[in-house]
């Protein structure tokens, strides 16, 4: 989780990622921030993020991203 927070803070350090639950819904992250994030997450956690994962619920909070990462690592 710490590694994930580091990546997120590199994208935008003005957001409180432990509290924020609507990164996508409130447009704190735009589409291109998400695309960038996908590449970073794939490299950092050795996972493959496919189109099916590209839903707001997977990227709305650090917690949701962490759940997705763990799920993809298990597969």
């Amino acid at each position: 989780m710490e590694k994930l927070l580091e990546i997120l803070e590199e994208i935008d350090d003005s957001i409180d990622y432990e509290a924020e639950k609507a990164l996508i819904d409130d447009h704190l992250f735009d589409s291109f921030a998400v695309i960038n994030l996908v590449s970073e997450l794939e490299d950092a956690f050795d996972i493959q993020i496919e189109a099916r994962e590209m839903v707001p619920t997977n990227f709305n909070s650090a917690e949701a991203m962490w759940e997705m990462i763990q799920r993809l690592q298990e597969n």
Binding site: S31, F32, N36, I49, A51, E53
Partner: protein, 519 residues
Amino acid sequence: MAYHEGFYLFAFLPLALICYQIVAEKHRWKVLLVFSFIYFYLFSGNLVIYLIGSTILTHYAAIWISWIKMKYTQELSEVPKEQKSAIRKAGQKKQRMVLTAAVLTLLGTLAYLKYTNFFLENVNSLLASLNVDHSFAISKILVPIGISFYTLEQIGYIADVYWDKIEPEKNLGKLALFFGFFPLVMEGPISSYETVSKSLFSGQKLRFENLKDGFLRIVWGLMKKMVVADRLYIIVDKIFTNYQDYSGVVIILGAICYTIQLYMEFSGCMDIVIGSGKLFGVELPENFKQPFFSKNAGEFWRRWHISLGTWFRTYIFYPVSVSSLVKKWNKFGNKKVGKNITRIVTSAFTLFPVWLCNGLWHGANWSYIFYGMYYFVILMIEVIVEPLTNKLTKKYNLDTLRIFKTWIIIFTGELFFRAESLPAGIAMFTSIFTDFIPENLGSISLGVGYADVFAIVLGCVIVGIVSTLKEKNVDIQAKVYSLKTPVRWAVYYALIFMIIILGAYGTGYQPVDLIYAGF
């Protein structure tokens, strides 16, 4: 029998409500299904076969994909770990084949019906310009109503099953109701099965709250359509048909009037659609969110025709964004050319297919393709200047200026969108700079009188106030309901009488078809 016409509002809809209420709960969805197919048949006659055929195809493609998933999941549980990856890949390949075949068939049908003649006309022009003595015969192709809308829903449904977002619907009738639901079928909103199915199949009895909400929403939509849009139609039609007769200043007026007409018409129709759904307790997604408060074109498209934007983002933008080519470029670019250039190239690569498809989706016409490309260029400019915009907006409050800039972008886009042809659009746009004669405005005839102008202005002011309050998160509906009974009823009657007295119908007015139903 469009949504704003008397037959729909005073005969079809009440009859559907009565039949829905008198049958048992578990059969109510069947009433909606029957009424939906009657509605479709009344518009498109035998072309209903396209809706039935594509629904059957979608149904079985989704079931097939789901069956492959099940088969391979079972196989995976029975094999050692080292074989799992190969089996998983084989399963995914088969699912992808079914998905691709189904999507290509659906898109192929849409392309054949909508674009064959456009394609042949362009081939004929090309052959003529090359002095080739041959031309392809062009025959009229009848297009079923709403095909552009329900085809996107069908593709979305199969993709959602493929992506494990939803389980496929086992009941063909229920799926047919989702794609053909009469309030949705003509102009959307393009809905996802996940969002709508639960309330659509619930068969809940008619409730006073839903009837009240639905009724108010329908009346509000009728006001926008009949008082404002249909009166503006007269001005817009005159300017765009005879654009050569008008100077640049009138062309600007035409572009502004058309933008307002389109908004009042399309969002008004969505109010009637969402209100119609609400009467039955069916929750449909919103399609507009105060678009004229947008500070840039990107935001505008998140507030205007939201369901189309969402569809393109989900099924084109993101799949392209996470394609191996874009991922590879992102990694390479971030290391070699810097984040900013990488972002610009990635944006170009991912936005281009979205906006090409957006233009094509609206119809077989170079104006629409130009319209799509226009927004592609505008959005690319916004991506390029984003670092500067961020710096400036942190320092200064530029909201009003940015909103005004977005209006100019919107008006210009709609000018080309509405123009009779692309050359006409270019001529109209050019005349703004070459033939701008302000004094012409007072002496021109636009086919409307003071009463029309009064109705348009009054309607715009009311919609403007309501939109401003909504933008400030004021729940207008709750406010109206909280009014004392006489005042509340005065509001209802004021709206109804506004439509009766100021609506553009009857002698002297020709019925105006719903613009988006033509797409």
